[in-house]
Point group: C2
Chain length 452, copies 2
C-alpha cells in the first residue's frame, strides 16, 4: 500500500513525550498560580462565526486569520483569547459578577509566515479582570503581581516586568503638540531596542516628518532611566503641563506603590517609558516582560488596561486589565536555551513493575498497591527477556524498576531498583511506595525552569 | 455603533463559570487517573494536512470533516485523536519506546447535524497502548481497569463496562457460513437495544437477505446472558468448531480473569455478545460502557484492540488497544441529569478579602498571606459600600469572606465569615488559613459526580 507521509504542518508544535511532560508541568503551574489569585477558568470554542471574531475588523488580523466556509456558514479560528472573552462577557453578562476575573489557557491560530520559533498554532495563557462601568486601579498592580508569581514558580529569575502608562505618553505628546502623530511616533520609538537611537531619529524625521529638534525632545524623554523612584521623580518635572499626563503619572505612582505592597521585588519590575503596546486598545497601564539575559526574544508576557472590552458586542461599558503569556513560544525559547530542568521526572511513570514469572497476578497486585499509594505505575506485560525489559526501563527513563520473581512473591516483598544510583532494596509494598514517593518528591521539588 | 450579536455557534459548548469549574474537576481527575497508570500526555495539532487526516478516507468521516484551504494548503481539523496518534507514532517511531502508552485529552471536530446534546466541537479523552510488532493481552484487561478507576474516582457508580471479542463474532459467523455477510449482520444486530429482537429479525431477512432459521441462530447466540462465568460457560458449547472463535474465547476468558485481578468488581463489567464496535478497525477485545440507569444515552466510553494502528503511514506493524471517553457529551448528560455535585467549591476563589478602610495595604498583605498558605484568594479592590461587597461575595458563591476594618488591622487579626453558616470568627492569618483550608478540603472531598 502506498503510504502517506506522517508529517506535521510547519508552524505547528508537536512535542516528543518527555518535552510534553515539561510543557504539562508549565501548564499546571500556570493553572495553579492563576487559581490562587481567584481567577476562574474559562473555555471557549476554537471556531467562531467570522462575523463575531472580526467584529473589530481590519489590520493584520484579517490577513492572518484561518477563515473558511462550512456549508453556508462563514467560520474562523480564534486568533487570540481576548476577542472570545469580549464575546463571552457580552453574551453571558447577566450571569456574571463584576469584577469578573477569568483565566484561559488555549490554542489560538495565526497564519503567519512560518519561520523558526514562530508558530501558527500556539497556546496563550491569559488573565483578565473586567469591571462593569468602572474598575479600581488596584487591579493594574495585581495583574503584574500574578505574573511575578507565575514566573517565580516556574523558576524564572532573570526577568523584568516593564510598566508604563499610555496616558503619560499621550499627555507628553499633547504637551509638545504632537498628538496628531502620536501613534506613528510610538510605533517608531518602539523600535529603539532593535535599531538604536540614531536610526529611530532618522525615521522620525524622514518618515514621520518631524523637525529634528522635536525628535530630540522625544528621544530625551524616552531616555529617562534609573531606579523606579528616579524615573518617577524625573517625570515630576512635566507635571502641571497636561491633565492626561498628570493623571497617568498619578496612576503610575499608585501602581508602583501597590506592586511593592504585593511583594514584587524592585529587580523584577521597572518603570520604562519606551513601552507603548499597540495602538488604540490600551488606555492606561501597559506591561511587557523581558528575560533580562535574552532581550533578543522580545516580550514574553504583555498586556495592559483598556476602557472598553466589548464595544463591538454591547453598549455596556466594560473596562478591564489583562495580560497574556505566549506559552508555546516561551516553551520553545526555554527549550532552545537549555533552560528546562532535567531533574524533574518526565518519564511516563515513576515505577515500572516487571513480572519475572509466567503468572502475572502478583505483579498486577503490586502495581495496584503502588497506584493506591499514589505512585504513577506502569505494569510491563510483555513476555520478553530480562535484558529487554531493563533496556525498556532505561529507555523510558523510569526512576524505579520493581522486580517480581518467585522469591519476592513467596516473601510478599518487592525488589525495588533505583535506576540512577543502581541501588536495589527488597521492601514491602508499603515501604517501596514510601521510598519511591520520597525520591520522586525530592526530584520534583525543583522548578521546571532551571536558570543558572 | 452597530453591534454584532455575541453568539456562540450551535453545537459548540461554552459553559458558565461554575459549570466550567465542574468540567475542570473532571479534566483533572482524568489527567490524574491516566497518569497513575503510566500513560504519558500528548498534545497534537488541531489542524493537520487533509491528506494526512484522510489517509484512510471514505465514509462518514469525509462528509463531516472541517476542511479548508489556507493559501494553497489543503487543511482539515482532526475528527478524533486516533488518527493523530497513528500519525504521531509513525512520525516519531524512532524516538518512542514500545509499548508506548499515551493519553490525550483534546477537542475534535465533526460537522454533524446540530441537535440537542450533539456537539460539533467536543473533548475526547483517550488512552492507548501501542506495541511494536506485538502486544500482550494483559493490556486488553488493563484498559477497562483504568476506565473503572476513572469513573469510580469521578463518583460514577452505576455503570457497566461491556466486553466482547471480535474473534468470537467472526468465528461464530464463519462456523455458520455467514462470513460474507458478517459486517452487515453485526451492524443490524447492533440495533437490538434500540429497535428490539423482532425488528432486527425482520431487517436480517429483508435487508441482509438471510433465511429465517439462520436469523434464529444469530439471535439465539446474541441472547446468551447471565453472569460472566455463565456466559463464558455457554460459549464453551461452540468450542472446536472454528479456530478464530476458539482463540477469541480464550482471549475473553483471560481478559475476564485479569479484570478480576485488576480489582474490577463483577457488577461493573459484563461479557456482552451484542457489542461489536464499528467494522474493520477492531480485531479482538472490544468495549462499550453503559450508565446502567441511563441506557438511552448510549456508550459513554468505547474502544478495543486493533492490529495495525498506522498502516496508512508506515510499514511497521503497530498493534494496540485503546479507549475513548466522549467527555463533552458525558458532561452535558451528567449536567442535564442533575448528577454533578453542588457540594464541591465552584466559586473562583475560596476566600474573598474585603478591605473596609481607605488604605488597602493591610488587605493586600492579608491576601498575600492566605495565598502563601495555598488558599485561592481574591482581593476585592472596588470602592463600594459594604452591602454591595457582601452581595458580590454572595453572587460568586465564595465560601469565606475576610473582612479587614480598623479594628482588625490594629489587632493584626482577620474577621472571617463562613458564608453558608454565617459563622464569623476573628482569627490570626494563620488560623484563618487553617479554618478555610479544612472547610474547603471537607467540601471538596466528595466526588464531582453525585449519583444517588
Amino acid at each position: 500500500m502506498a503510504k502517506v507521509s506522517p508529517r506535521t504542518l510547519s508552524g505547528f508544535m508537536e512535542l516528543a513525550p518527555r518535552d510534553q511532560m515539561k510543557m504539562e508541568k508549565m501548564l499546571s503551574v500556570l493553572r495553579e498560580s492563576y487559581s490562587l489569585y481567584g481567577f476562574t477558568p474559562l473555555d471557549t470554542p476554537v471556531i467562531e462565526s467570522a462575523e463575531v471574531l472580526l467584529a473589530k475588523g481590519g489590520g493584520e488580523t484579517e490577513k492572518q486569520i484561518y477563515r473558511f466556509l462550512k456549508g453556508d456558514s462563514d467560520l474562523a479560528l480564534r486568533f487570540d483569547l481576548t476577542v472570545p472573552l469580549a464575546k463571552y462577557v457580552a453574551g453571558h453578562y447577566a450571569e456574571l459578577s463584576f469584577p469578573f476575573r477569568r483565566y484561559q489557557i488555549g490554542k489560538v491560530y495565526r497564519g503567519e509566515r512560518a519561520q523558526r520559533g514562530r508558530f501558527r498554532e500556539f497556546y496563550q495563557a491569559d488573565i483578565d479582570v473586567i469591571g462593569d462601568g468602572k474598575l479600581d486601579i488596584l487591579n493594574e498592580a495585581e495583574i503584574p503581581a500574578v505574573i511575578y508569581q507565575v514566573f517565580t514558580r516556574l523558576g524564572l529569575k532573570k526577568f523584568k516586568i516593564k510598566v508604563n502608562n499610555r496616558k503619560i505618553l499621550n499627555g507628553f505628546y499633547a504637551m509638545n503638540g504632537m498628538s496628531a502623530k502620536a501613534g506613528e511616533i510610538m510605533r517608531t520609538v518602539d523600535k529603539l531596542d532593535k535599531i538604536g537611537e540614531q536610526k529611530v531619529k532618522q525615521l522620525l524625521i524622514d518618515e514621520v516628518g518631524m523637525f529634528p529638534d522635536k525628535t530630540e525632545t522625544v528621544l530625551d524623554f524616552m531616555a529617562i532611566q534609573g531606579s523606579n523612584a528616579q524615573v518617577l521623580e524625573q517625570l515630576e518635572r512635566f507635571r502641571g503641563m497636561d491633565e492626561t499626563f498628570d493623571q497617568g503619572l498619578d496612576e503610575l505612582i499608585v501602581v508602583t506603590r501597590y506592586l511593592r505592597d504585593f511583594g514584587v521585588p524592585e529587580e523584577n519590575f521597572a518603570v520604562d517609558l519606551t513601552i507603548a503596546r499597540g495602538l488604540d486598545y490600551y488606555t492606561g497601564t501597559v506591561y511587557e516582560t523581558e528575560m533580562t539575559e535574552h532581550p533578543e526574544i522580545g516580550s514574553i508576557c504583555s498586556g495592559g488596561r483598556y476602557d472598553n472590552l466589548a464595544e463591538y458586542y454591547t453598549d455596556k461599558q466594560l473596562p478591564g486589565v489583562g495580560i497574556s503569556i505566549g506559552l508555546t513560544r516561551l516553551f520553545y525559547v526555554l527549550n532552545e536555551q537549555g533552560l528546562l530542568s532535567d531533574e524533574i521526572v518526565t518519564s511516563p511513570c515513576d515505577a515500572l513493575v516487571l513480572p519475572m514469572t509466567e503468572e502475572v497476578g502478583p505483579a498486577v497486585a503490586a502495581a495496584t498497591a503502588l497506584r493506591k499509594a499514589g505512585i504513577r505505575t506502569q505494569l510491563y506485560g510483555e513476555k520478553r527477556k530480562f535484558k529487554a525489559k531493563m533496556a525498556y526501563a532505561d529507555k523510558i527513563g523510569v526512576p524505579f524498576a520493581v522486580l517480581l520473581g518467585e522469591d519476592e512473591i513467596a516473601q510478599n516483598l518487592l525488589s525495588v531498583k533505583e535506576m540512577r544510583s543502581g541501588e536495589q532494596r527488597k521492601l514491602s509494598p508499603e515501604d517501596a511506595a514510601a521510598w519511591i514517593r520520597e525520591t520522586i518528591a525530592e526530584r520534583n521539588s525543583g522548578s521546571i525552569i532551571s536558570e543558572k
